[in-house]
Symmetry: C2
Amino acid sequence: MTASPKYTMEDVTERLGITARTLHYYEEIGLLPAVMRTDGRHRIYDEIMLERIEHILKLKRVLGASLQEIRDILQAEEELEHIKASYYKEPHTEEERDLLLDQAIERLQSIIIHIDEKMAKLQAMRQSFGERLDRANRLKHRSLPDR
Amino acid sequence: MTASPKYTMEDVTERLGITARTLHYYEEIGLLPAVMRTDGRHRIYDEIMLERIEHILKLKRVLGASLQEIRDILQAEEELEHIKASYYKEPHTEEERDLLLDQAIERLQSIIIHIDEKMAKLQAMRQSFGERLDRANRLKHRSLPDR
DNA sequence: TACAAAACTAACGTTAACGTAAGTTGTATA
DNA sequence: TATACAACTTACGTTAACGTTAGTTTTGTA
């Protein structure tokens, strides 16, 4: 069992461009469960935690989601992972598995619908700004101005 | 000159689903300049103001922009309108017009770039969630499970 | 082992975008 | 004209997502 590399608080904050307070806060509100500690209660992060943190930051920046929404998304993902794991290890009845899977699928679908709606609106807005830009460019190059 | 219809505070809040405080606040921070008033200092809104407010709300919801950013976008749009208007009415030298147009074009382009970046990231995220969903669906229908 | 640098906890501060309450005027209608 | 309801201004309150001390332990290094 080869131990994965460990990172200190400073490692993480410098690498991800965030502050210690942010990590403290995410832990406070339950976004980062069970962070490992040294004997002296200093935090240690491993690769898995790093990926989780990066995932959170990405969801924040790209989706513009609140930490509360991110919590829900992460939970949906974890349920899915749990289901996948137990699919191979634990014995389940067909019905149990189907129920769990359906729940996870439903959550994923609602996330995707959310994203799709957002993209559609962005698309429409992008187009309207594009048209404005076109008009401005036509004005500049003195082809027949509209209006 | 046929006067455009006027709307009261209640008209606007009910129609747009916002509160009076929001309109007061937008005025406070300069997002809604020169709102008309009755003799008794009650606010009156016309179609143009309504459209401006709707535009602001759309930018907020779709772009997730802060009111500060929205202020900048509105300013860019107004500059462009002003340029278009003055193109026909006021006399300008070629250089003056080109300078103003270039500034407006630059602002519009930066907005569009912003939108495009956001869409690209959303696209990537959408795809990753789509793949997760596919895996879950494969699990459910018991075709060869991956991993 | 001694000490500077790093991390810890606890707690109050800050900003954006409004919410809410209070007391005062305006306005529409009987 | 009386009155109920709408809108006004002023000002303090609230929530999310951290920022910022402050005072106290840990830890890596000389």
